[in-house]
């Protein structure tokens, strides 16, 4: 097995009395796309925020390419990047300005050329000097993805990255991310509510329910192992009847 780019151990986070993440452990390996699935409030975004270093865990450790996030945050985060539907780039800056600023923040070498490559890859060249705030939601998502690729991250975190994209663009985006992962230098942690997409893209999935990992495995084999026709049926069972799966797993 390839080495882990992300190593999460016994992660826990509570907001007051509400436990959002409860003893979660997992790894993302080089070249792997790991799907983090679960109903709303399962703890996916809390987990991603902790991996991004914007939320401190109550317990547990996070290692990014062997660097302890708590001790060496800046060095560890330099190896990551992210795109999330709830974190659009500032709308009062142009696409190029946003990419330049975030490229500087991530310390990207040869930034001008890298911006040019990404504008071409994500079909954004014609929006180079357009303010992000006037782009459609799908175009803004492509800008966020271009920003997420700026530093060729070893760990890419994608929180519902295709939520605002039309099916054709979503397919292209999935293909590009798969290509990037297939090159084998980085891993991807991907959340989505689109089970068709997850089955197509992810090498492995984790189902979270109430902050705990309920199921883990190959997205193509997992439904059959639990008597379900497909991943969507399994997802609905996780959301509505998690106890039946816990009993089955036991």
């Amino acid at each position: 097995m390839r080495p882990a780019v992300l190593d999460v151990r016994d992660l826990r986070k509570a907001y007051g009395r509400t436990v959002a993440v409860d003893g979660v452990s997992f790894e993302v390996h080089q070249g792997e796309i790991l799907g983090l699935l679960g109903p709303n409030g399962a703890g996916k975004t809390t987990t991603i925020n902790m991996v991004l270093g914007v939320l401190a865990p109550d317990a547990g450790t996070i290692g990014i390419e062997g660097l302890d996030l708590a001790a060496r945050r800046s060095d560890a985060i330099e190896r990551t990047n992210f795109a999330a539907v709830y974190a659009p780039l500032p709308g009062n800056l142009t696409v190029e300005q946003n990419l330049r600023i975030f490229g500087m923040l991530y310390g990207v070498a040869g930034l001008k050329e890298r911006i040019g490559e990404l504008l071409a890859t994500y079909d954004l060249e014609r929006f180079r000097r357009t303010r992000c705030g006037v782009l459609s939601s799908g175009e803004q998502t492509r800008v966020s993805l271009a920003k997420a690729m700026l530093n060729r991250p070893r760990l890419l975190l994608l929180d519902e990255p295709t939520a605002s994209l039309d099916p054709a663009t979503a397919r292209e985006v999935r293909a590009r991310i798969r290509e990037a992962a297939a090159r084998g230098t980085g891993g991807v942690l991907w959340t989505s509510h689109n089970m068709y997409e997850v089955a197509e893209v992810c090498d492995r999935v984790l189902f979270l329910s109430k902050g705990r990992i309920l199921l883990a495995g190959d997205p193509k084999a997992l439904p059959g192992e639990h008597g379900k026709a497909n991943l969507e049926e399994l997802f609905i069972t996780v959301a509505r009847e998690p106890l039946t799966l816990e009993e089955g797993a036991a």
Partner: protein, 267 residues
């Protein structure tokens, strides 16, 4: 500290200001209004004095220096508010940027924006009202230095308050200089204050600047010792303000406030 990350914060501010009239005009509009208003008042007051006392360097100079401090503070807070208004905290704080680099970027942005205000103020005060800057001699630089440091400290305290209490708390920040000005003895000596206000005045670096400035105008000697006190206090406050911001940022990371900033509170 990595210069490119500091530069990114400054560049962002540069992009925003260079394409926005509503950001360019406030850099100098209010200081021009203040200088013109107080320039006319001082001219009028000069017509009543038979002793030859010149109100221009005492009052107009004080207004100019106080406006400079206000511009410095707002230079820091405005750059921070851009992240508040654009809901950009998650994007920025999920990058490798360190707190020292982020605050450093805000301070450098403030140097640039407050310099614009200072140049315009000095030009109007000199050309229109013949403010004789040579009166302050070699102390003009130290005066500005102390006020700059204290303006930075106030700005960092301001952004700490807004980060902790949420976007609506920006209304606590704008009046900060006005609240402090009676204690800072901008227009009158510290001795004119009641006892309890004098205690606060002695804790404020600007009061040493304005006392020193009036001392020079009244030919009472070089204000070297007060300026050293003022400088030491200003440096201390910058350090304390940075510690405050670090603590508030840690609180925001511990509670999840950065990811849910628009909610204003996580309780």
């Amino acid at each position: 500290m990595r210069a490119s990350r500091v530069g990114a914060i400054v560049l962002r501010q540069g992009y925003l200001i260079s394409h926005s009239v509503s950001r360019i005009v406030p850099l100098f509009a209010w200081v021009v209004v203040d200088v013109v208003l107080w320039g006319l008042i001082t001219r009028y007051l000069n017509t009543f004095t038979g002793s030859g006392y010149n109100f221009v360097p005492a009052l107009l100079g004080a207004v100019l220096l106080w406006d400079f401090l206000t511009r410095v503070m707002q230079g820091v807070t405005m750059a921070f508010f851009e992240d508040v208004w654009a809901r950009n905290f998650l994007n920025v704080f999920a990058t490798p940027i360190r707190i020292s680099e982020y605050v450093g970027g805000l301070v450098v942005s403030s140097v640039a924006t407050s310099a614009v205000g200072l140049v315009v103020m000095v030009a109007v005060a000199t050309v229109v009202f013949a403010l004789p800057f040579t009166t302050y001699g070699m102390f003009l630089g130290p005066f500005l230095g102390v006020l700059f440091l204290f303006g930075i400290a106030l700005g960092i305290v301001g952004i700490s308050i807004v980060l902790r209490l949420g976007p609506a708390a920006e209304w606590f920040i704008w009046p900060l200089p006005a609240i402090l000005s009676p204690f800072a003895s901008v227009f009158y000596p510290v001795s004119a204050l009641p006892g309890w206000m004098r205690v606060i005045a002695r804790l404020l670096p600007p009061s040493y600047v304005f006392e020193g400035m009036r001392g020079i105008v009244l030919r009472q000697g070089a204000p070297t010792a007060p300026l050293l006190w003022g400088t030491a206090l200003a440096v201390l406050y910058v350090g304390l303000a940075c510690l405050l911001f670090v603590r508030v940022h840690r609180y925001a990371v511990r509670t999840g406030l950065i990811g849910r900033y628009s909610a204003e509170t996580v309780s």
